[in-house]
Structure formats: structure tokens, C-alpha cells
């Protein structure tokens, strides 16, 4: 009998895993509470360029011989190999958790009201449209952009928001009346030093103030102020903030205090279970919460479920736009520091190309291109090349 594989959550990683194992003899069930799959990087462009939503039905991404269940998973019980759904329970032979990460607007007092007023570029299409409405009618004043908390999805996104907003104020001829402040809980604009050396000068050149060590403690929506744990208070007329992110917290006994699943950073197994894995944003692994990470992790788990001892090397490859149709990529791994990669127009088109190639990538039809790309941009090779250039 075919082994029953249940994938909890149809995020990028879950969809890719189902496609990778479609013809490998598994009986695959994918469960998600929504039948809509969003191209999440596009929220940034909805919020700062007024772009249209990009989404597709999950069933159009999943392999035909898999089963899609529209349901809410309440609990995954690894000890008893049981999944508790809204009105039923099911068993499995293998389970892969891909439940993602979400903005938690209750962690910071006043944040929910700010979110209702300004929206953001990290949650829903409606929230991104709300932000676009504010951004596209902003008449000048104090704008605050950044992350509120150390854990969030897509580390480059707050900087991208600052660059795109700055560009928008120039296009709308309100730049001279606008003061843009970038806040971060980290010691510099981008936490990984080599990438910061690239982006901080660009921020300064564009006149974006950087306030470091600003870990948001509370927001006063009536007074329009944001206060940090470190004791500073900033005034805002416009705010685009990334919320604190948490996990779904549904894996019994194996979640940390933020609801992320305790996952082995190399094997991606949950605890010591050899029939349970976690991929994507849902893990507690100290790496970027991004689609690329989920993509690479889905390859590792697919191989492991086929009996191959594959291990995740922590590779990241996050695109970062800096405005003016230029972008860089944050490329690193567990053993390689982030590459000091300069922004280029070529990288911008690679990033934008993902908008068109996203669904085919999720169907794993683009693997031949992606594998070639990942090999070509191996961080060890890129760092060696840069070091050679530096010394010559």
C-alpha cells in the first residue's frame, strides 16, 4: 500500500514538496485553510506601486494525483501520528508541517489600530491596498518604515519598502516635504554586515534616516507616536511597519514560545521523529523566512522521504530591491557569510521574472533553471571570487 503523506499547509514549500513526490508512490494529502495561493512578494508592489493582486487556486498548483483538503488543522500529534482537523481526525505515515508565519498584531500595544489605519505589506491584499491608499496620497511629513520586532518574514522587505516609498515620494513631488526614518531592532539597517555595507550607503544617499536598536514596545495611534524598548519615541504621519511574526503553534509539544516548530536545522526533522518534518517559515531554524528557503527545504525533505540522507546547508537567496530598477540578492549559508553583492539591473529583472515564473516554479517545472542558478550563485564560490578581486 502507498505510504500516506500528509502535508499540513500549502505554502510554497508544501506545494513544491507535493509536486516533487507526485510520481514517487506516495498517497499525498495537502491540507490548507485557504484554496488561494498568493505570490506574497507582490504585496510590496501592491503597497508601493498600486499593483494588482497575484494569486491562484491551490488546486491549480498541486499535482493531479494528490488530494487537497480545505480544512483547519488544530493539532499535529506526533506521538500518536494523528492530525486533528476542525471536525475530524486523520492518521498518517509521514507528516510535513508547512504552516508558515503570520503577523501578530497583539504583541505590541496600539499596533492593531495602526494596522487598521495604515495596513501593511506583510499580510493581506486588502492591507497592502490600504497602505497604497495612504502612500499614494501622502502630502508630506514624517514617515516611519521598518520592522517592529526581531522575527519577521523576508528580512530584506523593510528596506525594500523604504526604497520604494522614497522613490514614490520623488515621483509624486513630495520628497522635499518628507522626512523618512527607517527603524530596526538591529545594530544596522541590514543585520548581516556585508549586505549592510552595500545598502546603508544607498539609504544615506537617498536621505533615509536610520534609527538602529529600535525594538518597538508600544504605539500610540492617537498621538501618532512609536516608542521603543530602548526608551526612544518617534512621531509619525505615515507608518509602514512589519509586524512581529509568530508560527501556528499546532505541533503538540514541539513548538517554541513564538509558535515555531522545533526543527533540526540540517535534517529538517521535528524532534527525533523520522516520520515528521517541518519546512518554510514554520521552523524555528535561524535562517531567513522566505520562499527560497522553503523551496530548498522542500528538496531536502523530498530526498529524505525517498531514503536519501540529504541535509539542508542553510542557503539563502533573498532578492532585495533598492529602487531605480536595481536589486541585489542576500546569498549566504550556515557556513558562508552573506556575499557582498552589488545591486544591478540584471538582478532586478531576475527578481521581477519570479512574478511570471512563480507558478511554474511551484509546480517544480523550473527546477532545471533554478538548480543551475543555485549552483552558479553558490555563496562559497561568490565569496572566493570577491576575495580574489579584493586581493588583486
Amino acid at each position: 500500500m502507498a505510504k500516506r503523506l500528509v502535508i499540513v499547509g500549502a505554502g510554497d514549500g508544501g506545494v513544491m514538496l507535493a509536486n516533487r513526490l507526485a510520481s514517487k508512490g506516495f498517497d499525498i494529502t495537502v491540507i490548507d485553510k485557504s484554496n488561494k495561493h498568493y505570490f506574497q512578494p507582490w504585496l510590496l508592489h501592491i503597497a508601493f506601486n498600486g499593483a494588482k493582486e497575484k494569486s491562484i487556486e491551490q488546486t491549480k498548483l498541486l499535482p493531479k494525483n494528490s488530494r487537497f483538503m480545505l480544512d483547519t488543522v488544530k493539532l499535529v500529534d506526533l506521538e500518536n501520528r494523528k492530525i486533528v482537523l476542525s471536525n475530524s481526525e486523520m492518521d498518517y505515515d509521514y507528516v510535513v508541517v508547512d504552516t508558515g508565519s503570520f503577523g501578530d498584531y497583539s504583541k505590541i500595544p496600539g499596533h492593531m489600530q495602526l494596522y487598521q489605519e495604515f495596513g501593511d505589506f506583510h499580510s493581506t491584499t486588502e492591507a497592502a491596498q490600504r497602505l497604497w491608499k495612504k502612500a499614494s496620497t501622502f502630502a508630506g511629513g514624517k514617515a516611519i518604515i521598518g520592522s517592529t520586532y526581531p522575527i519577521f518574514k523576508c528580512p530584506p522587505s523593510p528596506l525594500e519598502a523604504a526604497f520604494l516609498f522614497e522613490e514614490l515620494t520623488r515621483k509624486r513631488h513630495v520628497r522635499s516635504q518628507t522626512q523618512i526614518t527607517f527603524i530596526t531592532p538591529f545594530p544596522r539597517a541590514y543585520p548581516a554586515e556585508p549586505m549592510n555595507e552595500i545598502v546603508e550607503p544607498i539609504m544615506k544617499e537617498r536621505g533615509i534616516n536610520i534609527v538602529t536598536f529600535f525594538d518597538v514596545e508600544s504605539i500610540d495611534p492617537a498621538k501618532h507616536t512609536i516608542t521603543s524598548l530602548e526608551g526612544d519615541t518617534l512621531q509619525y504621519d505615515f507608518a509602514a511597519l512589519v509586524p512581529p511574526h509568530v508560527g501556528a503553534g499546532i505541533v503538540k509539544d514541539f513548538c517554541d514560545e513564538n509558535g515555531f516548530v522545533k526543527t533540526d536545522k540540517e535534517t529538517l526533522q521535528i524532534g527525533n521523529f523520522d516520520d515528521a518534518y517541518c519546512i518554510g517559515d514554520a521552523t524555528n531554524i535561524s535562517t531567513s523566512k522566505s520562499g527560497v528557503t522553503a523551496h530548498l527545504e522542500s528538496k531536502i525533505v523530498a530526498q529524505r522521504l525517498l531514503g536519501i540522507d540529504a541535509r539542508f546547508d542553510g542557503r539563502t537567496n533573498c532578492p532585495m530591491e533598492v529602487g531605480g530598477h536595481k536589486a541585489t540578492f542576500v546569498i549566504g549559508s550556515y557556513t558562508q557569510p552573506v556575499v557582498k553583492l552589488k545591486p544591478s539591473t540584471f538582478n532586478y529583472f531576475l527578481k521581477m521574472g519570479m512574478k511570471y515564473g512563480a507558478w511554474q516554479t511551484l509546480r517544480t517545472k523550473m527546477d532545471f533553471v533554478m538548480d543551475w542558478y543555485f549552483a552558479r550563485t553558490d555563496p562559497a564560490k561568490l565569496n572566493a571570487k570577491l576575495n580574489k578581486q579584493k586581493s588583486s
Binding site: 545594530p187 524598548l229 530602548e230 552573506v338
Partner: protein, 76 residues
């Protein structure tokens, strides 16, 4: 008062300072945080962080497989 070990080994992006900032948020005055990292940048980052937040670095020890930064939370 509690001591918490934060294992950030292998984390270069977003980096060990992410884990430190998070631990600080959840810590109480008097707690100790032991941060493990393989990123040499952690030494300067932890010092800058301690200076900014008014907390104390008790020691920085370089071991063959990791750098251990011991921090005492005295201010929040």
C-alpha cells in the same frame, strides 16, 4: 532570575544579533543570556548592543567551535 543559552551557531543571515534582540525582549532584569555564535561579527555587535541598551557584557570567550558571549540584563 534565569540563565538562557541562545544557540545562534551557523546563523549569518539574519544573524546572531536577531536572536539576542529577541532574548532581550523576553528577559527580565537580573537574567543572564549566553549567546553562542560562529559569526565573528557577534563580538562588536554584542558590545554595541550592550552599550545602546545599557546592559553588561560579562565575558566574551572564543572557543574552537564557537564564540560565547555572556550578557547580564540590568536594564530594560
Amino acid at each position: 532570575m534565569a540563565k538562557k543559552v541562545i544557540d545562534s551557531r551557523g546563523s549569518a543571515c539574519p544573524g546572531p544579533i536577531t536572536d539576542l534582540a529577541l532574548a532581550y525582549r523576553n528577559a527580565s532584569i537580573g537574567d543572564e543570556i549566553e549567546l553562542w555564535s560562529t559569526d565573528p561579527g557577534v563580538k562588536e555587535d554584542a558590545k554595541a548592543w550592550a552599550q545602546r541598551t545599557g546592559n553588561v557584557i560579562e565575558s566574551i570567550t572564543e572557543l574552537p567551535d564557537k564564540i560565547v558571549v555572556l550578557i547580564k540584563i540590568v536594564k530594560k
